[in-house]
Structures are given as structure tokens and as C-alpha cells.
């Protein structure tokens, strides 16, 4: 796709019929969690959309986010989205390596200054910049440099969005999120470990379609995908209401597909689209497969007292400490009573009675 071509022109040139385009549009609208009634608007916007430049930086990450994206739906409608953007730098995917790769990045930044979209996965170590470098450039420097002229930043995955696993206690690298460093650019947090691929492409589609960033929640996540918690959209919710819970992973309740709250499901406090979009092309999602939600799209999900620790059990420490507190209370109680009795004895002696 040439830079001066609109998406409509590009698709037609690819031999895609108008029917095919409409199908693409309705799949895209669905992907962006837009109502079907928005189809005409989407079609018109996409028809005239121009090809944006995208630079993808990977820092302290596991490549799971990229895997999620590239392994799931390709080569399909979503891949067209990727065809429709100019992915100018992605050191895992691009053919170029070494200086060539860095030159591509610099060129894209220069050419599209103020217009390119920066996608980041992975967290940024700030304790020591040498913990993670690319081409000898520390993650921190590369982020600052690349973000400076970006139109907006998409922080893909919980690491980039909130620090993620590297940030987990005791955070040996001093890992931080993109938004901890960049404060003067719009940042879209597409959290999840990994994020639902459709959500990643949905955000890109939104940018492609409307040239703007979608509506965000308090944590910078697109409301369209993160507006509701898993629990509220979970098909097992009726069991919660009726108080029917699986007590173990192999009991009658588990077999009958009852609520997994007691097994530590974090659905009630986790905002993501898993319960509706599901995974693997809409096949299933963790709760459907019988495991509670681990809350991977929420900040610090790794440090919330255990995946199998029910939300309401709290994270209150050890029983021994409680007994210790009771023992200290008993000691103080005895002590205070002894002191009071000594004073009372003195008062009685003074009476001489």
C-alpha cells in the first residue's frame, strides 16, 4: 500500500470487492466493539483512511504480546489491518537487523514526525539502564527519543501498561510502565498478559479508522474493551448469584461449570473483554475452560496474594502474627490489671479497714 493511497483504493487494487470491503468493515467494527449501526460510518472512514506509520518497541518483555497478535488470526481480516499500516520498526518481526533496523526507525520517525503511532510492549528498567538495551541504547533513552515525536503511544501488555511481571515485588530492575516515564503524550494502555489480540488490532483499527484515540478509562484503557469487568459479563455469573461455587477443581461444582469465585477467580475486580470476545478466535476464555481469572489486565496482578486466594479472603499475613498480637494483648491486660490492683491495695490499706 502506497502512502498516498486510501485504504479503499488499496483494497480495490488488491481485488477485494465492495462486498469484501463491507465484510471487512463489519468485522472491524465488531473488533472495535462498535455497535453494528456504526457500520456505515466505519466504512466511510476506512474508505478514506490513510496509511499510518507504526513503530513498535519491545523492552523488558517476553514477546508474548507479539505472539498473541501474530499467532492468532493471521492471515485474515486483521492482517489487512497490518497491511493497512506501515509497521516501520518491530525488531522481532522486521527483516532488517542491526544498524539497518535502527536506521529504519530513525527514518520513520523523521518522515512521520508528529504523526506516527508508537507501540510499546515490555516495561522499562530504571534502576540501571544497562539491564535492557537495544543496539546499545537503553530502553529508557529509546522510549524518550521515540515518544518525543509520536502522535500517541499504545502500551501493549500489562508490562508496558502497568509494569507487569518485571514490576512484581521485589521489582529487581526497577521496572516501570510507559506512563511512568512519558507524561506529555496520549497513551492507550492495552493491558493483559497477553492482551486479547482482537483488542490490540481493535485499537489499531480505531486509530486507522478515525485517526484518533478511543475513549479511555481511569487506567488509560479503551473503555470499549475494558469498560466492564469479567464478572459482570461472565456466563457463570448466575451461579454466583445463586451461591453455587466450585470448591475444588475436580468437584461436582467444577464439572457443572459453577462459579469459580472460591477458587480465587479475580473476575469481579478485573476489567477486560475476555468474557465476550474470548480467545482463539472466540473459542473460549480461562473461566470457560474451568480456571478462574487471574486478573492479568490489572495493575500488580502478580502481587495480590495468590491466584487461588479468593478476593474476599484478604491478604492479611500470617495466623502466627495474629496469635502474637493476642499474646501481646494478654500481657498488657495482665500488666494493666496488676498495676490497677496494686493501686487499689494501696487505697484499701490507707483506709485501714
Amino acid at each position: 500500500m502506497r502512502k498516498d493511497q486510501s485504504l479503499g483504493e488499496y483494497l480495490r487494487a488488491q481485488g477485494v470487492s465492495r462486498r469484501g470491503f463491507l465484510k471487512f468493515c463489519s468485522a472491524t467494527a465488531s473488533m472495535m466493539a462498535l455497535p453494528p449501526s456504526a457500520l456505515a460510518q466505519v466504512a466511510e472512514a476506512l474508505e478514506n483512511a490513510r496509511r499510518p506509520s507504526v513503530i513498535w518497541l519491545s523492552f523488558q518483555e517476553c514477546t508474548g504480546c507479539t505472539e498473541s497478535l501474530t499467532r492468532s488470526h493471521a492471515p485474515t481480516v486483521e492482517s489487512l489491518i497490518f497491511d493497512a499500516i506501515s509497521l516501520d520498526y518491530h525488531h522481532t518481526l522486521q527483516a532488517a537487523a542491526g544498524h539497518g533496523a535502527e536506521e529504519a526507525r530513525m527514518a520513520a520517525m523523521e518522515e512521520n514526525a508528529g504523526e506516527y503511532l508508537l507501540v510499546v510492549d515490555g516495561s522499562i528498567p530504571v534502576d540501571n539502564p544497562a539491564y535492557s538495551t537495544i543496539a546499545g541504547i537503553s530502553n529508557l533513552d529509546m522510549l524518550k527519543e521515540t515518544a518525543a515525536n509520536a502522535f500517541a503511544i499504545v502500551a501493549v501488555g500489562t508490562c508496558a501498561a502497568f509494569g507487569g511481571l518485571p514490576h512484581a515485588d521485589p521489582n529487581p530492575t526497577g521496572a516501570v510502565s510507559v506512563s511512568d516515564i512519558i507524561t506529555d503524550k496520549p497513551i492507550i494502555n492495552v493491558s493483559g498478559c497477553p492482551p486479547i489480540p482482537v483488542v490490540i488490532t481493535g485499537v489499531l483499527a480505531h486509530f486507522l479508522t478515525f485517526g484518533s484515540i478511543p475513549e479511555l478509562d481511569a487506567l488509560g484503557r479503551p473503555v470499549a474493551f475494558f469498560g466492564q469487568n469479567i464478572h459482570d459479563r461472565c456466563y457463570r455469573r448466575p451461579f454466583y448469584e445463586r451461591g453455587q461455587y466450585a470448591e475444588t477443581f475436580d468437584d461436582e461444582g467444577a464439572r457443572k461449570g459453577w462459579c469459580l469465585y472460591k477458587l480465587g477467580c479475580k473476575g469481579p475486580t478485573t476489567y477486560n473483554a475476555c468474557a465476550t470476545l474470548k480467545w482463539n478466535a472466540g473459542t473460549s476464555f480461562p473461566i470457560q475452560s474451568g480456571h478462574g481469572c487471574i486478573g492479568c489486565s490489572e495493575p500488580d496482578f502478580w502481587d495480590k496474594g495468590g491466584f487461588y486466594n479468593p478476593i474476599s479472603a484478604g491478604n492479611w499475613g500470617s495466623r502466627d502474627a495474629l496469635l502474637g498480637a493476642a499474646a501481646a494483648g494478654a500481657a498488657l491486660g495482665v500488666g494493666s490489671a496488676l498495676a490497677a490492683r496494686a493501686r487499689k491495695k494501696k487505697a484499701q490499706a490507707a483506709e485501714g479497714a
Binding site: 448469584e241 469465585y261 491478604n315 492479611w316 498480637a325 493476642a326 494493666s336 490489671a337
Partner: protein, 217 residues
């Protein structure tokens, strides 16, 4: 750290420590003041039976008083039962108790809990209004009385809101709910909520004292 993380993490931890420490401190400190042994010859009676008898019998007023305290008696029962059911038989609560105590018990369906919680809240508000308006109660009340009502009322209200997802995001409501429980636990040993612990020794000692004189406490 989110509100919920704080409330159910360090907040809950400190609250439980203070609760345990304070309750034992106050209970031991009061009992250990000791009392002079009663050397009079008792009437024929079983001291333990009399004590335990009073623990039970004081749950209902003596006949002559029934009519005069009917409102308090009925609301007292409804309040405590509704509260206990809501606190002790809601599945998420049981998970908390299980984490502390190491054992659990069956729960009730959530809809029943919702009803009992609403009943408990309504009764507590009625009792609050009565305390503020009844001549005797208004006159004798002090800050503790109102604080104790509020620190119990707020967990109830926030619990209902969190359960119904009404008025905010769930984890925020839950965070406020757990935080209010933290506050309640911290206040518990220092205010009159302590009656929940003191009821037994107080009734027991009345039972033995009256029992040795041949009087049903």
C-alpha cells in the same frame, strides 16, 4: 496500590492485629482485676449451670418487662440475626473466615444474604433514629454509641452497594467496604462493640451470683 489492595492487604492486617491485641487486652485486663471470693454458704445450686443458664436466659426479657421493651427486644433480635446471617453465611465472607480460622461452613444463596443485609441495615437505621430521639437513649448516649453504630452501618451499606454494583466500580465499592470493615475491627476493642465478647462473662457472672442465692438470673 489500589484502595482494595490496601484495604484487604496492609489495612486488614493492621486491623486484625489491633482487633486481636485490643480484644484480649481489654478482656484479660478486666477479668484479671479479680473479685473477692464469695464466702457465704450458697443455696443448693450448680454454679456452672447457673452461669450458663443466664447466658441463655438473658436472651429474653423476664415476663414482667416484656411489654415495656418490646420494640428493643424485637429489633434487637431481628438486627442480630440479620447481621449474623449476612456476616457469617455470605460465601465471600466465609472465605475470609476460612482464611483466618482454617475451617469453613456452608453458605446461603446470595439473594437471601441481600435480603438479610437490607433488613439489618434498615433495623440499624431505625435503632440509630431511636437513639437520637428516645428521651432516655438520647440522654445517656455518648460518642461511642454513635461511632459504634456508624462503623457497623457503613460496612453494611457499602457491602450492599458492592454486592449490587451500585454507585461505583465494583473494586472501588469493595475497597471501601473492606476499608470500613478495617475501621470497624480497629474500633471494636475500644468501643461498646466489645459487648459481643463481654456478653458471655457478664451474663455468666450474673448467673452464678444470682444462682448461689437461689434466684434465676
Amino acid at each position: 496500590m489500589t484502595l482494595l489492595d490496601f484495604a484487604s492487604g496492609p489495612g486488614l492486617q493492621w486491623a486484625l492485629w489491633i482487633f486481636m491485641f485490643g480484644v484480649v487486652w481489654r478482656l484479660v485486663g478486666a477479668l484479671f482485676l479479680l473479685s473477692r471470693k464469695d464466702l457465704t454458704k450458697p443455696r443448693e445450686h450448680n454454679s456452672v449451670a447457673a452461669g450458663l443458664g443466664a447466658v441463655i436466659s438473658r436472651s429474653a426479657p423476664a415476663h414482667a418487662f416484656e411489654k415495656r421493651i418490646l420494640f428493643q427486644h424485637v429489633t434487637g433480635y431481628v438486627w442480630h440475626f440479620a447481621l449474623f446471617i449476612s456476616v457469617l453465611f455470605f460465601a465471600p465472607h466465609i472465605l475470609f473466615f476460612e482464611s483466618v480460622l482454617g475451617f469453613s461452613w456452608p453458605h446461603l444463596p446470595n439473594t437471601i444474604i441481600l435480603v438479610t443485609a437490607i433488613v439489618a441495615t434498615a433495623v440499624l437505621i431505625a435503632l440509630l433514629i431511636r437513639r437520637a430521639t428516645h428521651p432516655v437513649q438520647r440522654f445517656i448516649s455518648n460518642a461511642d454509641d454513635y461511632i459504634s453504630i456508624f462503623v457497623v452501618l457503613i460496612p453494611l451499606v457499602t457491602g450492599i452497594l458492592a454486592f449490587t454494583h451500585f454507585g461505583g466500580r465494583y473494586e472501588t465499592l469493595l475497597g471501601i467496604h473492606v476499608l470500613s470493615v478495617d475501621v470497624m475491627l480497629i474500633w471494636f476493642p475500644f468501643g461498646k462493640l466489645m459487648h459481643a465478647i463481654m456478653t458471655m462473662p457478664a451474663r455468666y457472672q450474673a448467673g452464678t451470683a444470682f444462682g448461689r442465692r437461689g434466684v434465676k438470673a
